[in-house]
Protein backbone atom coordinates (compact mmCIF):
# COMPACT_ATOMS: atom_id res chain seq x y z
CA UNK A 1 0.00 0.00 0.00
CA UNK A 2 3.00 2.28 -0.38
CA UNK A 3 1.99 5.86 -0.96
CA UNK A 4 -1.75 5.17 -1.07
CA UNK A 5 -3.59 8.18 0.40
CA UNK A 6 -6.30 7.30 2.90
CA UNK A 7 -8.84 9.24 4.93
CA UNK A 8 -9.60 8.08 8.47
CA UNK A 9 -12.98 8.40 10.12
CA UNK A 10 -12.59 10.96 12.89
CA UNK A 11 -13.33 8.31 15.47
CA UNK A 12 -9.91 6.69 15.19
CA UNK A 13 -7.36 8.22 17.50
CA UNK A 14 -4.44 9.67 15.55
CA UNK A 15 -1.45 10.79 17.56
CA UNK A 16 -0.89 14.52 17.32
CA UNK A 17 -3.87 14.96 14.99
CA UNK A 18 -7.14 16.30 16.40
CA UNK A 19 -9.75 13.57 16.84
CA UNK A 20 -13.23 14.89 17.55
CA UNK A 21 -15.77 12.14 16.89
CA UNK A 22 -17.61 15.11 15.36
CA UNK A 23 -18.58 16.24 18.85
CA UNK A 24 -18.15 19.55 20.62
CA UNK A 25 -17.04 17.64 23.70
CA UNK A 26 -13.92 16.39 21.85
CA UNK A 27 -13.45 19.43 19.61
CA UNK A 28 -10.05 20.16 21.19
CA UNK A 29 -8.83 16.59 21.74
CA UNK A 30 -5.40 15.65 20.43
CA UNK A 31 -4.78 11.94 21.11
CA UNK A 32 -1.46 10.85 22.59
CA UNK A 33 -1.62 7.58 20.59
CA UNK A 34 -2.80 6.11 17.27
CA UNK A 35 -5.47 3.43 16.83
CA UNK A 36 -4.12 -0.01 15.94
CA UNK A 37 -6.16 -0.22 12.69
CA UNK A 38 -4.73 3.09 11.47
CA UNK A 39 -1.24 2.19 12.61
CA UNK A 40 -1.39 -1.09 10.67
CA UNK A 41 -2.51 0.70 7.49
CA UNK A 42 0.27 3.27 7.88
CA UNK A 43 2.85 0.54 8.58
CA UNK A 44 1.82 -0.99 5.24
CA UNK A 45 2.87 2.27 3.56
CA UNK A 46 -0.41 4.19 3.22
CA UNK A 47 -0.53 7.88 4.02
CA UNK A 48 -3.26 9.44 6.14
CA UNK A 49 -4.25 12.65 4.37
CA UNK A 50 -7.09 13.66 6.67
CA UNK A 51 -9.93 12.80 8.99
CA UNK A 52 -13.55 12.54 7.90
CA UNK A 53 -16.76 13.98 9.28
CA UNK A 54 -19.30 11.61 10.80
CA UNK A 55 -22.43 11.47 12.92
CA UNK A 56 -21.55 12.58 16.45
CA UNK A 57 -20.01 9.59 18.27
CA UNK A 58 -21.23 7.47 15.30
CA UNK A 59 -24.83 7.90 16.43
CA UNK A 60 -26.87 8.48 13.32
CA UNK A 61 -27.66 7.23 9.86
CA UNK A 62 -27.50 10.49 7.93
CA UNK A 63 -24.44 12.42 9.12
CA UNK A 64 -26.78 15.18 10.28
CA UNK A 65 -25.81 14.85 13.95
CA UNK A 66 -22.22 16.10 13.45
CA UNK A 67 -21.28 19.19 15.51
CA UNK A 68 -19.35 20.41 12.45
CA UNK A 69 -22.27 20.32 10.01
CA UNK A 70 -23.71 18.02 7.41
CA UNK A 71 -21.80 16.10 4.77
CA UNK A 72 -23.39 16.39 1.32
CA UNK A 73 -23.88 13.33 -0.84
CA UNK A 74 -21.57 13.71 -3.89
CA UNK A 75 -24.42 12.41 -6.07
CA UNK A 76 -26.80 15.21 -5.04
CA UNK A 77 -26.21 18.37 -3.05
CA UNK A 78 -28.52 18.71 -0.05
CA UNK A 79 -28.89 14.96 0.26
CA UNK A 80 -27.45 12.87 3.07
CA UNK A 81 -24.46 10.60 2.42
CA UNK A 82 -25.76 8.11 5.00
CA UNK A 83 -24.09 7.55 8.31
CA UNK A 84 -22.37 7.34 10.51
CA UNK A 85 -19.28 6.98 8.28
CA UNK A 86 -20.78 9.54 5.87
CA UNK A 87 -17.63 11.64 5.46
CA UNK A 88 -15.54 8.57 4.57
CA UNK A 89 -18.14 7.34 2.05
CA UNK A 90 -18.50 10.79 0.45
CA UNK A 91 -14.71 11.26 0.23
CA UNK A 92 -14.33 7.96 -1.64
CA UNK A 93 -17.36 8.56 -3.90
CA UNK A 94 -16.13 12.06 -4.77
CA UNK A 95 -12.72 10.67 -5.74
CA UNK A 96 -10.85 12.59 -3.03
CA UNK A 97 -9.27 9.35 -1.79
CA UNK A 98 -9.29 5.81 -3.21
CA UNK A 99 -10.33 4.38 0.17
CA UNK A 100 -11.13 5.34 3.73
CA UNK A 101 -11.70 3.75 7.10
CA UNK A 102 -15.06 3.55 8.80
CA UNK A 103 -16.71 1.88 11.74
CA UNK A 104 -19.97 -0.01 11.85
CA UNK A 105 -22.12 -0.48 14.96
CA UNK A 106 -25.48 -1.02 13.25
CA UNK A 107 -24.76 -0.32 9.58
CA UNK A 108 -22.45 2.70 9.72
CA UNK A 109 -20.10 1.44 6.99
CA UNK A 110 -22.61 -0.35 4.76
CA UNK A 111 -25.47 2.17 4.67
CA UNK A 112 -23.27 5.19 3.71
CA UNK A 113 -21.44 2.99 1.20
CA UNK A 114 -24.84 2.15 -0.32
CA UNK A 115 -26.03 5.78 -0.35
CA UNK A 116 -22.81 6.97 -1.99
CA UNK A 117 -22.48 4.18 -4.57
CA UNK A 118 -19.30 2.57 -3.21
CA UNK A 119 -18.26 -0.66 -1.50
CA UNK A 120 -17.88 -1.09 2.26
CA UNK A 121 -17.39 -4.10 4.50
CA UNK A 122 -18.08 -4.65 8.19
CA UNK A 123 -15.83 -7.51 9.26
CA UNK A 124 -16.59 -10.22 11.80
CA UNK A 125 -16.59 -8.85 15.34
CA UNK A 126 -13.06 -9.26 16.65
CA UNK A 127 -11.23 -9.38 13.30
CA UNK A 128 -10.05 -5.76 13.48
CA UNK A 129 -8.71 -4.31 16.72
CA UNK A 130 -10.91 -1.72 18.42
CA UNK A 131 -7.98 -0.24 20.32
CA UNK A 132 -7.89 3.51 19.76
CA UNK A 133 -11.39 3.58 18.31
CA UNK A 134 -13.55 5.85 20.44
CA UNK A 135 -16.15 3.41 21.75
CA UNK A 136 -19.86 3.77 21.09
CA UNK A 137 -21.25 0.26 21.77
CA UNK A 138 -18.35 -2.06 22.57
CA UNK A 139 -20.04 -5.38 21.77
CA UNK A 140 -21.21 -4.13 18.36
CA UNK A 141 -18.50 -1.73 17.08
CA UNK A 142 -16.20 -2.99 14.34
CA UNK A 143 -13.85 -1.13 12.00
CA UNK A 144 -13.62 -1.75 8.27
CA UNK A 145 -12.76 -0.18 4.92
CA UNK A 146 -14.80 1.76 2.37
CA UNK A 147 -13.44 1.72 -1.19
CA UNK A 148 -14.47 1.62 -4.84
CA UNK A 149 -14.46 -2.15 -5.15
CA UNK A 150 -14.52 -5.39 -3.18
CA UNK A 151 -10.95 -6.03 -4.31
CA UNK A 152 -9.77 -2.73 -2.80
CA UNK A 153 -11.67 -3.56 0.39
CA UNK A 154 -9.85 -6.91 0.55
CA UNK A 155 -6.49 -5.14 0.22
CA UNK A 156 -7.30 -2.78 3.09
CA UNK A 157 -8.90 -5.41 5.30
CA UNK A 158 -5.85 -7.65 4.90
CA UNK A 159 -3.77 -4.89 6.46
CA UNK A 160 -6.24 -3.78 9.15
CA UNK A 161 -6.91 -7.29 10.49
CA UNK A 162 -4.99 -9.25 13.07
CA UNK A 163 -4.74 -10.00 16.74
CA UNK A 164 -4.01 -7.09 19.06
CA UNK A 165 -3.19 -7.79 22.69
CA UNK A 166 -4.41 -4.27 23.54
CA UNK A 167 -8.01 -5.22 22.65
CA UNK A 168 -9.38 -8.01 24.84
CA UNK A 169 -12.04 -8.85 22.23
CA UNK A 170 -9.53 -9.15 19.39
CA UNK A 171 -9.61 -12.63 17.83
CA UNK A 172 -6.37 -14.60 18.00
CA UNK A 173 -6.67 -16.48 14.73
CA UNK A 174 -4.40 -17.32 11.86
CA UNK A 175 -4.46 -14.51 9.31
CA UNK A 176 -5.91 -15.28 5.90
CA UNK A 177 -5.06 -13.52 2.64
CA UNK A 178 -8.44 -12.24 1.47
CA UNK A 179 -7.02 -11.22 -1.92
CA UNK A 180 -5.95 -14.78 -2.56
CA UNK A 181 -9.50 -16.08 -2.12
CA UNK A 182 -11.33 -13.67 -4.41
CA UNK A 183 -12.06 -14.42 -8.06
CA UNK A 184 -13.18 -17.99 -7.38
CA UNK A 185 -16.12 -19.34 -9.41
CA UNK A 186 -19.46 -19.08 -7.57
CA UNK A 187 -21.22 -21.99 -9.29
CA UNK A 188 -23.34 -23.76 -6.69
CA UNK A 189 -23.03 -20.92 -4.14
CA UNK A 190 -26.16 -21.03 -2.00
CA UNK A 191 -27.62 -17.60 -1.23
CA UNK A 192 -30.39 -17.18 1.31
CA UNK A 193 -33.26 -14.69 0.93
CA UNK A 194 -34.87 -13.85 4.26
CA UNK A 195 -38.62 -14.29 3.99
CA UNK A 196 -39.33 -12.16 7.09
CA UNK A 197 -37.80 -9.07 5.45
CA UNK A 198 -40.97 -8.77 3.30
CA UNK A 199 -39.16 -7.15 0.40
CA UNK A 200 -42.49 -6.83 -1.38
CA UNK A 201 -43.29 -3.87 0.89
CA UNK A 202 -40.33 -1.85 -0.38
CA UNK A 203 -40.31 0.77 -3.15
CA UNK A 204 -40.82 -1.08 -6.44
CA UNK A 205 -37.56 0.28 -7.87
CA UNK A 206 -35.63 -1.05 -4.84
CA UNK A 207 -37.28 -4.42 -5.50
CA UNK A 208 -36.40 -4.23 -9.21
CA UNK A 209 -32.70 -3.63 -8.49
CA UNK A 210 -32.75 -6.55 -6.06
CA UNK A 211 -34.36 -8.86 -8.63
CA UNK A 212 -31.85 -7.74 -11.30
CA UNK A 213 -28.95 -8.61 -8.98
CA UNK A 214 -30.52 -11.94 -8.15
CA UNK A 215 -30.75 -12.72 -11.86
CA UNK A 216 -27.12 -11.77 -12.40
CA UNK A 217 -26.03 -14.11 -9.61
CA UNK A 218 -28.21 -16.87 -11.07
CA UNK A 219 -26.59 -16.52 -14.47
CA UNK A 220 -23.22 -16.83 -12.72
CA UNK A 221 -24.27 -20.15 -11.18
CA UNK A 222 -25.52 -19.17 -7.71
CA UNK A 223 -28.64 -20.79 -6.27
CA UNK A 224 -31.23 -18.95 -4.21
CA UNK A 225 -32.97 -20.46 -1.21
CA UNK A 226 -35.70 -18.88 0.91
CA UNK A 227 -34.69 -18.94 4.56
CA UNK A 228 -36.41 -18.01 7.78
CA UNK A 229 -34.94 -15.91 10.58
CA UNK A 230 -38.00 -16.02 12.87
CA UNK A 231 -36.76 -13.47 15.41
CA UNK A 232 -35.31 -10.97 12.95
CA UNK A 233 -38.16 -8.48 13.52
CA UNK A 234 -36.70 -7.97 17.01
CA UNK A 235 -33.40 -6.61 15.61
CA UNK A 236 -34.26 -2.91 15.74
CA UNK A 237 -35.71 -2.88 19.30
CA UNK A 238 -32.90 -5.19 20.50
CA UNK A 239 -30.30 -2.86 19.04
CA UNK A 240 -31.95 0.26 20.46
CA UNK A 241 -31.81 -1.26 23.92
CA UNK A 242 -28.24 -2.64 23.81
CA UNK A 243 -26.46 0.11 21.86
CA UNK A 244 -27.71 3.02 24.03
CA UNK A 245 -26.97 1.02 27.20
CA UNK A 246 -23.36 0.46 26.12
CA UNK A 247 -23.16 4.06 24.91
CA UNK A 248 -24.34 5.48 28.23
CA UNK A 249 -21.60 3.52 29.96
CA UNK A 250 -18.84 4.31 27.43
CA UNK A 251 -19.67 8.01 27.24
CA UNK A 252 -19.54 8.46 30.99
CA UNK A 253 -15.80 9.09 30.58
CA UNK A 254 -16.50 12.47 28.97
CA UNK A 255 -16.77 14.66 32.03
CA UNK A 256 -14.57 17.67 31.30
CA UNK A 257 -11.82 16.56 33.66
CA UNK A 258 -9.07 14.70 31.79
CA UNK A 259 -9.76 15.70 28.18
CA UNK A 260 -12.35 17.40 26.05
CA UNK A 261 -14.63 20.38 26.59
CA UNK A 262 -14.92 21.80 30.10
CA UNK A 263 -17.70 24.26 30.85
CA UNK A 264 -16.79 27.62 32.36
CA UNK A 265 -18.29 29.22 35.46
CA UNK A 266 -19.14 25.98 37.20
CA UNK A 267 -19.79 25.45 40.89
CA UNK A 268 -18.83 22.16 42.50
CA UNK A 269 -17.47 19.03 40.76
CA UNK A 270 -20.93 17.66 40.04
CA UNK A 271 -21.90 20.93 38.40
CA UNK A 272 -18.74 20.75 36.29
CA UNK A 273 -19.70 17.27 35.07
CA UNK A 274 -23.29 18.25 34.29
CA UNK A 275 -22.50 21.52 32.51
CA UNK A 276 -19.55 20.12 30.53
CA UNK A 277 -21.57 17.14 29.32
CA UNK A 278 -24.71 19.15 28.63
CA UNK A 279 -22.81 21.73 26.57
CA UNK A 280 -20.60 19.13 24.89
CA UNK A 281 -23.07 16.52 23.63
CA UNK A 282 -25.62 17.06 20.86
CA UNK A 283 -29.30 16.10 21.05
CA UNK A 284 -29.08 12.61 19.49
CA UNK A 285 -26.19 11.61 21.75
CA UNK A 286 -28.08 12.89 24.81
CA UNK A 287 -31.19 10.99 23.71
CA UNK A 288 -29.23 7.73 23.45
CA UNK A 289 -27.40 8.24 26.75
CA UNK A 290 -30.76 8.80 28.45
CA UNK A 291 -32.32 5.69 26.88
CA UNK A 292 -29.30 3.65 27.93
CA UNK A 293 -29.31 5.06 31.45
CA UNK A 294 -33.00 4.18 31.73
CA UNK A 295 -32.47 0.64 30.36
CA UNK A 296 -29.65 0.01 32.84
CA UNK A 297 -31.28 1.61 35.86
CA UNK A 298 -32.59 -0.31 38.85
CA UNK A 299 -36.01 -1.80 38.20
CA UNK A 300 -35.69 -1.71 34.40
CA UNK A 301 -32.45 -3.68 33.83
CA UNK A 302 -34.16 -7.08 33.47
CA UNK A 303 -37.06 -5.78 31.40
CA UNK A 304 -34.98 -3.90 28.84
CA UNK A 305 -31.25 -4.64 28.89
CA UNK A 306 -31.21 -8.31 29.93
CA UNK A 307 -34.28 -9.04 27.83
CA UNK A 308 -32.58 -7.53 24.76
CA UNK A 309 -29.45 -9.63 25.33
CA UNK A 310 -31.63 -12.75 25.54
CA UNK A 311 -33.41 -11.87 22.29
CA UNK A 312 -29.99 -11.19 20.79
CA UNK A 313 -29.13 -14.83 21.42
CA UNK A 314 -32.32 -15.92 19.64
CA UNK A 315 -31.28 -13.81 16.63
CA UNK A 316 -27.77 -15.31 16.63
CA UNK A 317 -29.24 -18.84 16.91
CA UNK A 318 -31.46 -18.12 13.87
CA UNK A 319 -28.39 -17.17 11.82
CA UNK A 320 -26.47 -20.25 12.96
CA UNK A 321 -29.31 -22.51 11.88
CA UNK A 322 -29.69 -20.74 8.53
CA UNK A 323 -25.99 -21.01 7.74
CA UNK A 324 -26.19 -24.79 8.04
CA UNK A 325 -27.84 -24.85 4.64
CA UNK A 326 -26.62 -21.68 2.87
CA UNK A 327 -23.32 -19.87 2.22
CA UNK A 328 -24.45 -16.28 2.49
CA UNK A 329 -27.52 -14.08 2.81
CA UNK A 330 -28.55 -11.35 0.38
CA UNK A 331 -30.67 -8.28 1.23
CA UNK A 332 -30.90 -4.69 0.06
CA UNK A 333 -28.49 -2.67 2.25
CA UNK A 334 -31.10 -0.06 3.02
CA UNK A 335 -34.88 0.15 2.54
CA UNK A 336 -34.40 3.26 0.36
CA UNK A 337 -31.78 5.57 -1.07
CA UNK A 338 -30.25 8.84 0.18
CA UNK A 339 -32.81 11.44 1.25
CA UNK A 340 -32.85 15.23 1.58
CA UNK A 341 -31.43 16.86 4.73
CA UNK A 342 -34.03 17.16 7.47
CA UNK A 343 -36.57 14.93 5.74
CA UNK A 344 -36.37 11.97 8.13
CA UNK A 345 -36.45 11.59 11.88
CA UNK A 346 -37.23 15.18 12.86
CA UNK A 347 -40.66 14.33 14.27
CA UNK A 348 -40.06 10.71 15.18
CA UNK A 349 -36.50 9.38 15.71
CA UNK A 350 -37.60 5.80 14.93
CA UNK A 351 -38.17 6.79 11.29
CA UNK A 352 -34.41 7.25 10.96
CA UNK A 353 -33.61 4.18 13.06
CA UNK A 354 -35.42 2.03 10.46
CA UNK A 355 -32.73 3.01 7.92
CA UNK A 356 -30.69 0.21 9.51
CA UNK A 357 -33.41 -2.43 9.31
CA UNK A 358 -31.32 -4.80 7.16
CA UNK A 359 -27.89 -4.06 8.62
CA UNK A 360 -28.37 -4.20 12.41
CA UNK A 361 -28.77 -7.97 12.79
CA UNK A 362 -25.24 -8.79 11.59
CA UNK A 363 -23.82 -6.51 14.30
CA UNK A 364 -25.94 -8.22 16.95
CA UNK A 365 -24.67 -11.63 15.78
CA UNK A 366 -21.10 -10.42 15.07
CA UNK A 367 -21.23 -11.53 11.42
CA UNK A 368 -19.36 -10.00 8.46
CA UNK A 369 -21.38 -8.14 5.83
CA UNK A 370 -20.57 -6.11 2.72
CA UNK A 371 -22.48 -3.52 0.71
CA UNK A 372 -21.87 -3.13 -3.02
CA UNK A 373 -23.51 -0.72 -5.46
CA UNK A 374 -26.07 -2.37 -7.75
CA UNK A 375 -27.61 0.39 -9.80
CA UNK A 376 -29.79 3.43 -9.19
CA UNK A 377 -33.20 4.09 -7.74
CA UNK A 378 -34.59 7.47 -8.80
CA UNK A 379 -31.09 8.45 -9.97
CA UNK A 380 -29.49 7.77 -6.55
CA UNK A 381 -27.22 4.78 -5.82
CA UNK A 382 -28.69 1.67 -4.21
CA UNK A 383 -26.73 -0.93 -2.25
CA UNK A 384 -26.84 -4.71 -2.15
CA UNK A 385 -25.85 -6.40 1.10
CA UNK A 386 -24.21 -9.82 1.42
CA UNK A 387 -24.01 -11.24 4.95
CA UNK A 388 -21.53 -14.03 5.57
CA UNK A 389 -21.09 -16.67 8.23
CA UNK A 390 -18.70 -16.07 11.13
CA UNK A 391 -15.20 -15.24 9.78
CA UNK A 392 -16.27 -15.92 6.19
CA UNK A 393 -15.21 -12.55 4.77
CA UNK A 394 -13.57 -14.60 2.02
CA UNK A 395 -16.98 -15.75 0.75
CA UNK A 396 -18.71 -12.37 0.76
CA UNK A 397 -15.70 -10.58 -0.74
CA UNK A 398 -15.46 -13.23 -3.44
CA UNK A 399 -19.18 -13.04 -4.25
CA UNK A 400 -18.98 -9.23 -4.31
CA UNK A 401 -15.87 -9.30 -6.52
CA UNK A 402 -17.45 -11.73 -9.00
CA UNK A 403 -20.52 -9.46 -9.15
CA UNK A 404 -18.27 -6.48 -9.89
CA UNK A 405 -16.35 -8.42 -12.55
CA UNK A 406 -19.66 -8.97 -14.32
CA UNK A 407 -21.23 -5.52 -13.89
CA UNK A 408 -20.13 -1.89 -13.99
CA UNK A 409 -22.13 -0.28 -11.15
CA UNK A 410 -19.03 0.16 -8.99
CA UNK A 411 -17.32 2.13 -11.77
CA UNK A 412 -20.09 4.74 -11.89
CA UNK A 413 -18.99 8.13 -10.51
CA UNK A 414 -20.96 11.26 -9.59
CA UNK A 415 -20.60 14.23 -11.94
CA UNK A 416 -20.02 16.65 -9.03
CA UNK A 417 -21.33 19.52 -11.20
CA UNK A 418 -23.36 21.00 -8.32
CA UNK A 419 -20.30 21.44 -6.14
Amino acid sequence: MSGIPLAQKDLFCTEGLRTTCSSKILSNFIPPYTATAVMKLESAGSITIGKTNMDEFAMGSSNETSYFGNVHNPWKKGYVPGGSSGGSAAAVAAGIVPAATGTDTGGSIRQPAAHCGITGIKPTYGRVSRWGMIAFASSLDQAGPLARSAEDCAILLNEMSGHDSKDTTSLDIESTDLLHTINQPIKGLKIGIVKEFSLGDLDSEVQNRFEDSKKLYETLGAEFVEISLPNISASVPTYYSIAPAECSSNLSRFDGVRFGHRAENTGDLNDLYIKSRSEGFGDEVKRRILIGTYALSAGYYDAYYKKAQQVRRLIKNDFELAFESIDLIMTPTSPGTAFAFGSKGAQNPIELYLEDLFTISSNLAGLPAISIPHGKVNSMPAGLQLIGNFLREDQILNAAHIFQQNSAFHLDKPSMEEF
Binding site: F29, T169, L314
Partner: protein, 93 residues
Amino acid sequence: MDQETVRTICYLARLQIDDKKAQKIESDLETIIEMIGGLQKFDTENVQPLYSPLEKTAFMHEDIESSDNQKEKFLQNAAASNEDYFLVPRVVE
Protein backbone atom coordinates in the same frame (compact mmCIF):
# COMPACT_ATOMS: atom_id res chain seq x y z
CA MET B 1 -42.39 8.35 31.08
CA ASP B 2 -43.30 11.20 33.41
CA GLN B 3 -41.32 14.37 34.05
CA GLU B 4 -40.01 13.04 37.36
CA THR B 5 -38.55 9.89 35.72
CA VAL B 6 -36.91 11.99 33.01
CA ARG B 7 -35.43 14.29 35.68
CA THR B 8 -34.03 11.27 37.57
CA ILE B 9 -32.47 9.73 34.44
CA CYS B 10 -30.99 13.10 33.48
CA TYR B 11 -29.37 13.36 36.90
CA LEU B 12 -28.02 9.79 36.75
CA ALA B 13 -26.51 10.56 33.33
CA ARG B 14 -25.24 13.95 34.54
CA LEU B 15 -27.11 15.76 31.78
CA GLN B 16 -29.28 18.83 31.81
CA ILE B 17 -32.00 19.29 29.21
CA ASP B 18 -33.08 22.78 28.06
CA ASP B 19 -36.62 23.60 29.13
CA LYS B 20 -37.42 24.31 25.48
CA LYS B 21 -36.37 20.80 24.46
CA ALA B 22 -37.70 18.92 27.50
CA GLN B 23 -41.09 18.08 26.05
CA LYS B 24 -39.62 16.79 22.79
CA ILE B 25 -37.04 14.67 24.63
CA GLU B 26 -39.78 13.26 26.86
CA SER B 27 -41.94 12.25 23.95
CA ASP B 28 -38.95 10.83 22.03
CA LEU B 29 -37.94 8.73 25.02
CA GLU B 30 -41.48 7.49 25.41
CA THR B 31 -41.64 6.50 21.73
CA ILE B 32 -38.31 4.66 21.89
CA ILE B 33 -39.10 2.91 25.19
CA GLU B 34 -42.41 1.79 23.73
CA MET B 35 -40.58 0.38 20.69
CA ILE B 36 -38.09 -1.48 22.92
CA GLY B 37 -41.04 -2.70 25.00
CA GLY B 38 -42.05 -4.75 21.94
CA LEU B 39 -39.34 -7.24 22.95
CA GLN B 40 -41.57 -8.52 25.74
CA LYS B 41 -43.55 -10.58 23.25
CA PHE B 42 -40.51 -12.77 22.49
CA ASP B 43 -40.28 -15.90 24.59
CA THR B 44 -36.90 -15.91 26.31
CA GLU B 45 -37.57 -18.32 29.11
CA ASN B 46 -34.35 -20.25 29.90
CA VAL B 47 -32.45 -18.26 27.23
CA GLN B 48 -29.04 -17.07 28.38
CA PRO B 49 -28.25 -13.43 27.57
CA LEU B 50 -25.66 -12.92 24.81
CA TYR B 51 -23.47 -10.05 26.04
CA SER B 52 -20.84 -10.40 23.31
CA PRO B 53 -20.95 -12.16 19.94
CA LEU B 54 -17.67 -13.90 20.75
CA GLU B 55 -18.65 -15.41 24.10
CA LYS B 56 -15.05 -15.89 25.07
CA THR B 57 -13.36 -14.83 28.24
CA ALA B 58 -11.05 -11.89 27.85
CA PHE B 59 -7.47 -13.11 27.72
CA MET B 60 -4.99 -12.16 30.41
CA HIS B 61 -1.83 -10.19 29.79
CA GLU B 62 1.41 -11.69 31.00
CA ASP B 63 2.29 -10.31 34.39
CA ILE B 64 5.36 -8.36 33.32
CA GLU B 65 6.34 -5.11 34.96
CA SER B 66 6.62 -2.18 32.58
CA SER B 67 7.42 1.46 33.04
CA ASP B 68 6.02 3.83 30.48
CA ASN B 69 5.21 7.07 32.23
CA GLN B 70 3.55 9.41 29.76
CA LYS B 71 2.16 11.81 32.35
CA GLU B 72 3.03 14.99 30.47
CA LYS B 73 1.50 13.74 27.27
CA PHE B 74 -1.75 12.78 28.98
CA LEU B 75 -2.02 15.95 31.06
CA GLN B 76 -1.79 18.06 27.90
CA ASN B 77 -5.44 17.42 27.00
CA ALA B 78 -6.84 18.51 30.36
CA ALA B 79 -8.54 21.87 30.66
CA ALA B 80 -6.83 22.39 34.01
CA SER B 81 -3.80 20.59 35.43
CA ASN B 82 -0.61 21.18 37.33
CA GLU B 83 2.63 19.25 36.90
CA ASP B 84 1.23 16.07 38.40
CA TYR B 85 -2.56 16.12 38.49
CA PHE B 86 -5.79 16.95 36.72
CA LEU B 87 -7.41 19.87 38.54
CA VAL B 88 -11.09 20.04 39.50
CA PRO B 89 -13.10 22.25 41.85
CA ARG B 90 -12.36 21.59 45.53
CA VAL B 91 -14.30 18.57 46.78
CA VAL B 92 -13.37 18.75 50.47
CA GLU B 93 -14.25 21.86 52.46
